[in-house]
Symmetry: C2
Subunit: 440 residues, 2 copies
């Protein structure tokens, strides 16, 4: 099975866990068998590998997610990077061309496109595999997965099949309806459109060549910025007559809001939390080191992270976006290609952060124009290079870099440092990258 | 007016603002006229000064509160320190002897004893002044303030007066009753006993000499540990027949729980907070740098501090104590005689804290046996002494103290430092104090 996982952009609906630089699919919130936590993307990746160990999985995403994907799925995961956002048609065409030119998938082979964020069980990927096989048989140009509705939702588009069987030609598509209309659709046998579909690779490429003048993956990548924004639904799905829908009746949840996300949590709390006996239907996600105490709450979600604290009635939590838009966000935590950082303290003329470098990783060789920095290594060991001079460093070492000093660290083990930034204009944009010194 | 303010111990009922080392009376939660916030003790001290600018105010408290009292009320505030806890009779006798021997108050002068934590308006201290005058007239040995009950509370003791007038002899005292009994008392004209009373200084001293063998204040202080624990009510009040009660009908609130404390807040939130329109009767106190977002909550209090986060139904918040007892508290923030500290990060073999020294203050000259420390000065200037060697320090300076190194800082301006502690056994008890070096 060749599968393209569409890993969408940042979202504010799960603030303070998700924000401009941290997407919901990377939040570690699901219990694994061995008592650890994993993220949506880790969960889905594991499920695919379990159902089809030979699956070719490619994540189609933006550059900003590459570090997080490598951190969570390993360095070997196949990633097709969109140079900029151009809606789903260009993104799917780019990933399809990537499959052909980079991974060597042939025109006859089926490809499945699937969002990265549904909360499902393994039977879902059994169905995805079946979808792929159906597309490979070529009787339809497109085969969609239709999810049996559990309630008349206003959040999803609907697919109305011609017949009631497991597989049917599509009669028509319907946009997100109001509840009453949704009830009518469901009485007509409509299914939710979960955004999962399969096709033969050559089919999408021929559609692409009708609309875009390009040679292959690299050419498309280089000229991606010039493409028009257009959705795959509009460009392809709605115009296709040889299109079928396969019914899926298993468990499927869209974890886009706190309300639905907490339904997928196996325990009432993650992190340090105390809930008294008078709490009912309360979920706590606490990423801080200090405890959260909840008393007498009903139908509420509490989430505390380095970015802020949410306390919300579960129903109302879906209306969070405008409030988060108001919050001017100093990013307090970020995953990077080399590890992570967390802001510990902000003053007018200083900022203190904790830097964690993953074993074997290094930061860019860089300098700052308007700030000095002091590193105190608190654990691990590695090598630092300051103005081309290399030195071994370990817990307890203190390094001072004045403005202009070129510096970097290579971690041998996991290496943690407290970095104190000092200056009148501390700014993430004050960073000049330099070529790595030869000895590094 | 000579007034003794009883400043009681730490409390957990307002966790995470109050805890083992931070008492509720020091929490800055009340708006002043000029848009700042002040604490209970600051508010009450200002009210007394307004009503009687010449009042002699002495705070009777334990050693642990001396720093906070000086920080909040200034260096000149009169403080009578109890060497250890011995209940209210010894504490009031000690403070009364302090008034005589240290402040030179004569035996005939009236003294008022008042708890530090009622939330009242200026008319309350007008009444306290009147109480003092009545005691000075000497018709009764003790004059109590009786607060007109606003509901049949189970939280207070009751005083039943002989007559209904403004001033009356006390018929009898009643312990905290159940609601039904409280209703009966109130129908008989009972008043709440708010713990405020006045006497002539010589009266309490003579009672004291009947029960305790001591010469004067210093002798009592030196032998304080040997005294029996006994309450002033039991030792004096309940045995006194020449005792009156003065009725007070003004505003009086006891801010011992989140439920009552939030009633005294003028605004729904202190600190960074967003409450959506669907919140009803919600109060937020946020001492953190990141925002709290509340959506669709009813009758709730949210409090976030460096120690933890409380989210509670207001009614239930009064039952907080057993839950806070469960929380093993690493103290994350503390006011000290010289400034304050805040824990920023805790790892197995390091701890990072932010230290703020007030201008003109210095820390003890000390060393640690099992940890190294690194200071990075982030603002201000002062002088540091490391192993008797003195140096000027200012923002940007980095100092490293290995285990065993004697060190201290004297702040010239407000001085802030990031202190990284490094070692396998980081512990507050690993601190050896040394005599100040001569040059300091």
């Amino acid at each position: 099975m060749n599968i393209i996982l569409l890993s969408g952009g940042s979202g504010k609906r799960l603030w303070p866990l998700s924000n401009d630089i941290r997407s919901k699919q990377f939040i570690k919130i699901f219990r694994t068998g061995c008592g650890e936590y994993e993220s949506m993307v880790q969960r889905i990746y594991g499920q695919i590998r379990r159902v089809d160990p030979k699956a070719t999985v490619t994540v189609a995403t933006s550059k900003s997610q590459v570090s997080s994907l490598h951190n969570q799925l390993g360095e070997e995961v196949s990633i097709c990077v969109e140079p900029c956002r151009r809606d789903t048609f260009p993104a799917i065409v780019l990933a399809t061309a990537y499959l052909q030119d980079v991974l060597g998938v042939s025109e006859k082979e089926p490809v499945v496109v699937c969002p990265v964020d549904p909360y499902v069980e393994d039977d879902y990927f059994e169905a995805v595999k079946k979808l792929s096989e159906l597309a490979g048989q070529g009787e339809s140009n497109l085969v969609l997965m239709g999810i049996e509705p559990t309630y008349p939702s206003e959040k999803y588009g609907y697919v109305i099949p011609e017949q009631k069987g497991a597989l049917s030609r599509v009669a028509t598509f319907k946009e997100k309806p109001d509840v009453r209309t949704a009830e009518e659709y469901i009485s007509q046998g409509a299914l939710w459109n979960g955004g999962v579909f399969a096709y033969r690779l050559g089919y999408v490429l021929s559609k692409a060549h009708e609309l875009i003048d390009f040679v292959g993956y690299q050419d498309l990548y280089d000229n991606y910025r010039t493409l028009n924004k257009i959705s795959f639904d509009y460009a392809v799905v709605e115009k296709e007559s040889r299109i079928s829908v396969m019914r899926f009746g298993g468990s499927w949840k869209d974890l886009g809001t706190w309300n639905t996300l907490t339904e997928a949590m196996e325990e009432p709390s993650i992190g340090k939390a105390i809930l008294n006996d008078n709490c009912e239907n309360v979920h706590v996600v606490n990423e801080l080191d200090v405890p959260v105490l909840c008393m007498g709450l009903k139908n509420a979600v509490v989430c505390a992270s380095a970015e802020g604290i949410l306390v919300s009635d579960k129903e109302q939590s879906s209306h969070i976006k405008p409030y988060v838009d108001e919050i001017s966000q100093q990013i307090m935590f970020a995953d990077k290609s080399w590890g992570s950082f967390r802001v510990l303290d902000v003053e007018d003329e200083s900022m203190t952060i904790k830097v964690t470098l993953n074993p074997g990783h290094r930061m860019n060789y860089h300098s700052h124009e308007r700030r000095d920095e002091v590193w105190t290594v608190i654990s691990g060991r590695g090598r630092a290079i300051l103005d081309e001079r290399e030195q071994e460093i370990a817990a307890g070492d203190v390094l001072r870099m004045n403005a202009g000093c070129r510096h970097m660290v290579i971690a041998q083990t996991e290496l943690k440092m407290i970095e104190v930034q000092l200056g009148r204009e501390i700014n993430v944009h004050d960073k000049i990258k330099h070529a790595f010194p030869e000895k590094a």
